[in-house]
């Protein structure tokens, strides 16, 4: 039973371990200088020896990430529900939303730094703009996804707009909303880190990466990237876990049980 459940995990773990071993071997045997590519063991050593710095950076960056993620996603959801009753607004806003999602939004970082200062609120502002549109577009699509039969049923119950929204259409939209929440975890991390390239108090993961690159201490950069990767994956896994709990009824999860 346990063996069967862990079975699919074996190939990727073996592959990952092989890549790390190869990396270590190339660096050691090939004598690659530290400033180009540090060995995985060197990165781990640096990681554990600078835990306090990495932790302070993480806390600083996550303030911007979490504040922006929450505000941006909530605003996207709210606006989607507001424009839900107006076909006109939907037809006007959706193409613009899709258009904006393709733009290099991280470019607004310098403007936000000017408006909200060097500390985390400016990073949160960038994250708000980056996460707003994916949420808007996905929620509007999700609200459309309830079946005609179910809507007719709500009609025969004489349910009003809000009752239909709360007990049928919002639950039906949940898979779409969670899709946006998952996309937004990555976008939020990217937005906050890149915004820190444009100016920050002397703390934060983006600041650490850009200054340590300047000092050519590449092992510290890699250690910061390990932190970013772990945090990004955990953040994603957390949202995916909540999704599994909340949308247990959805076909994509039911199929796996059978």
């Amino acid at each position: 039973m346990i063996a069967r459940r862990l079975g699919p995990l074996v190939p990727p773990i073996v592959f990952g371990a092989a890549v790390l071993a190869l990396w270590e071997a190339v660096v050691r045997i090939g004598g690659v200088p530290q400033v180009i590519l540090p060995a995985p063991t060197a990165i781990m050593a640096r990681f554990f020896s600078s835990l306090p710095t990495l932790w302070v950076d993480l806390v600083q960056t996550m303030k911007g990430v979490l504040a922006g993620y929450t505000i941006g996603s909530a605003a996207g959801l709210g606006v989607a529900i507001l424009i839900d009753r107006s076909q006109f607004l939907q037809r006007g806003l959706l193409p613009i939303g899709n258009f904006v999602s393709a733009l290099p939004i991280v470019g607004i970082a310098p403007i936000m730094v000017m408006w909200f200062g060097f500390d985390w609120p400016s990073k949160a502002a960038v994250v708000v703009v980056m996460t707003f549109f994916p949420m808007l577009v996905n929620t509007v699509a999700g609200l459309e996804s309830a079946g005609a039969m179910e809507r007719d049923l709500m009609n025969t119950y004489a349910a009003d707009y809000w009752q239909t929204l709360l007990s049928l259409r919002l639950p039906a939209a949940l898979p779409f909303i969670f899709n946006a929440l998952k996309i937004n975890t990555t976008l939020a991390m990217i937005g906050a880190i890149v915004a820190e390239f444009f100016g920050t108090p002397i703390v934060g993961m983006g600041f650490r990466i850009s200054t340590e690159v300047g000092h050519l201490s590449i092992d510290m950069v890699w250690a910061t990237i390990v932190v970013a990767a772990l945090t990004g994956s955990l953040f994603y896994a957390l949202v995916a876990g909540v999704e599994r709990r909340v949308t247990f009824w959805h076909a994509s999860y039911r199929a796996k049980e059978a």
């Binding site: 006007g92 290099p104 403007i111 990217i190 444009f198």
Partner: protein, 288 residues
């Protein structure tokens, strides 16, 4: 065409809100300027007119951005270091080289993953996991590593653009190569088609819509990669370098102009791929 009116309305509304916001955000600055100049007799009209035409506003008004764009795109010689055509061309080259290299790599990787079983089982989880990682954080480091090998100028930024765009393309193409109906795959088997034949005649054509969808995502990602890479090595120029220079010297109008050029480039790239995709898909019978 049904949505032209709604879109125009929303765009106009955005412009109106923008003007109001610009007036409100800049008014305190303008008031200070009047006070410094010793003027006390200004009317509300003067204040609004002044705050919409400041040299370094908090939020430039749309007409200021348009005139700055005109100045830097058309009225400046394209060879000048102030011209946005000059910087836009640098960014465009990086983006296109990176996009082509990254796209080829992404498709090749997807072909390998689909045709070699153990590669999929061992690599796919990592590729999916890598989507959750802010890879863009690697950009400054890649620039430094490549400069150790004396690779400078356009190449390092193109490398970052390629790096950012190949993941979404690989994931999309693997999905596309797996998209044929099981019935069609069975049909190929009854024809006793080889794996290569199944791939060329069924999997590859079936992946066309996925190809164009992931190319759109990839092109947008490549542009973001190029711009962020330019921020980390700003002496070489490019849209990202203009953004950084603008933020150093408080030239807000210049930042917004550079931002609009970046946005236009992204829109044109994604739009072109979209058009090509529509044409090909119609020809292949995906759209009716």
């Amino acid at each position: 065409m049904k949505s032209a009116l709604p879109i125009a309305t929303v765009v106009l509304a955005i412009l109106a809100v923008w003007y109001v916001a610009a007036a409100l955000l800049n008014a305190p600055l303008q008031r200070d300027q009047f006070a410094n100049a010793g003027r006390t007799d200004y009317s509300t009209q003067d204040l609004i007119a002044g705050s919409l035409n400041m040299e370094r506003p908090k939020l430039p008004a749309p007409h200021q951005i348009v005139s700055e764009l005109y100045k830097l795109v058309f009225a400046t010689a394209p060879t000048s270091k102030r011209s946005l055509v000059y910087h836009g061309w640098i960014t465009l080259q990086e983006t296109l080289i990176g996009f082509i290299a990254g796209g080829a790599l992404g498709v090749a990787l997807a072909v390998m993953i689909v045709s070699v079983g153990w590669l999929e089982r061992s690599m796919m989880p990592w590729i999916v996991a890598s989507q959750t990682i802010p890879i863009i954080a690697l950009a400054p480091m890649i620039v430094v590593i490549l400069s150790q090998f004396n690779i400078t100028g356009i190449a390092p930024k193109a490398a970052i653009a390629a790096y950012l765009c190949f993941f979404p393309i690989t994931v999309g193409m693997v999905k596309g190569f797996r998209s044929p109906d099981p019935l069609h795959l069975d049909l190929m088997r009854t024809y006793s088609a080889t794996r290569a034949q199944t791939f060329l005649k069924l999997r590859a054509p079936a992946s066309a819509p996925f190809f164009f969808a992931s190319m759109k995502v990839g092109a947008a990602a490549a542009l973001v990669g190029a711009i962020v890479a330019e921020v980390t090595k700003s002496e070489d120029g490019g849209i990202g370098a203009r953004l950084l220079a603008g933020s150093y010297y408080g030239q807000t109008v210049q930042i917004w102009a550079a931002l609009f050029v970046g946005a236009a480039m992204s829109a044109v790239l994604v739009g072109l791929i979209g058009f090509a995709g529509q044409a090909v898909e119609r020809r292949m019978g995906f759209l009716r």
